[in-house]
Amino acid sequence: MLKDEPFSQILAILFASREPVMPGDLLAVFPHLSPEELVGVLTALVQEFNQIQSSLEIRQVAGGYRITTRVEHHEVIREYLKTQPSARLSAAALETLAVIAYRQPITFPEIAEIRGIKGSSTIKTLLEKKLIEIKGRKKVVGRPILYGTTREFLIHFGLNDLSELPTLEEFEELLQS
């Protein structure tokens, strides 16, 4: 099956693209496929590809499809590439990011209020890492800048969309139990 069109072509596209491939963009390239047919093709492709080998994996991330290596090979890859584990975000940065992810679009004073801390250095770090971005200004006095998460955020945390995050209410239940 993998060797037949359009499977072989879509797999080649998934490989060639560094960004997650959006089904909508594939429809433009395969106009003879209906959206339903395309979803069927993609589902079958993912299943078959992930099954015939155990090095790579097609994942759904940020609303698209992308090929990555499997988690279990990370040590041997790191050893070959001689890379250090990438710098993880600090606890402070993760907390700011969590606040932004759940309350976006949100201004800096609002973030500071929730975290009980001033200091915007984490905002700068997150902007530089492109995990958050400027989303305009809030229509209140002073017109403060609004921040929100990016597509890069979804990719970085392996999320298909924001709804994959548990809701804050779920965290609340966790606290009460």
């Binding site: 490989f15 560094r18 499997r70 990370h74 907390e95 969590a98 975290r115 966790l174």
Partner: protein, 236 residues
């Protein structure tokens, strides 16, 4: 004896007053919905004192929280106000409790992101860039990149001006160009700050002539809110 260094390691855990309060509550297994405010306030203040003793700079928000705690404590000591029938008097701790709960929820969310990050950092996208030869140095940009780039240009430009004025020889034409592009960047410049850049009497005089010339041509307006106030050079 415990050394200062030992404390410092522990002190760094608390990023803000909410973190510290949550720690005190958890450590003693207190009920977050019924915080013994007098006890917590004491511990909190002792902690701040400890930081002070160790010459650690206490961030303003820690002091604000101290004031809040003392205020709540005093309110708790007052007799419960007579309230309308069927209504319950508001617990003075209520705001603090909801703030703590909110903070705790986000801490949980942050730890979830942390876990996901561990997985995400263990997978690799394709390394080779077969199809991206044409735009290899190109990157996708957002608003932050834009302002960062502009900031860098302004910095670089101002450095260049400083370097240029260090040359002794200067012409009116040069000064005009310099002032024009400075105004393009800033739209408004204080007369005093512009003159400060002049390294010699000659520079000073030529700068002054350049300004007058630009005012004459209607390129700038020279404004002053009151006598002896600094003159603002505003681009037209």
């Amino acid at each position: 004896m415990t050394t200062g260094a030992d404390y410092q390691v522990e002190l760094e855990i608390f990023e803000g007053p909410l973190d510290l309060l949550l720690h005190l509550i958890k450590e003693q297994e207190l009920d977050i919905y019924d915080i013994p405010i007098a006890q917590i306030t004491d511990q909190y203040l002792r902690y701040l004192q400890m930081m002070k003793d160790l010459n650690i700079n206490i961030a303003g928000e820690f002091l604000v929280m101290a004031a809040t705690l003392i205020f709540i404590k005093s309110r708790m000591l007052l007799p419960v106000e007579v309230v309308e029938e069927g209504e319950e008097g508001e617990d003075p701790r209520q705001d603090l409790v909801s703030q703590l709960l909110e903070h705790e929820k986000f801490k949980k969310a942050a730890s979830l992101l942390h876990d996901r990050q561990v997985v995400a950092l263990s997978i690799w996208p394709r390394g080779d860039e077969e199809f991206e030869e044409e735009e290899k140095e190109a990157v996708s940009v957002n608003v932050f990149d834009l302002i960062r780039a502009f900031h860098r240009i302004v910095e670089r430009y101002q450095e260049n001006i400083v370097m240029e004025v260090q040359h002794e020889e200067v012409s009116l034409e040069q000064k005009l160009t310099e002032l024009r592009s400075l105004l393009m960047l800033q739209r408004e410049v204080l007369f005093s700050s512009f003159l400060r850049k002049a390294v010699s009497r000659l520079h000073l005089v030529i700068t002054f002539f350049a300004l007058l010339e630009m005012a004459r041509l209607g390129e700038v307006r020279l404004m002053q809110s009151m006598a002896f106030d600094d003159i603002r050079i505003v681009a037209c």
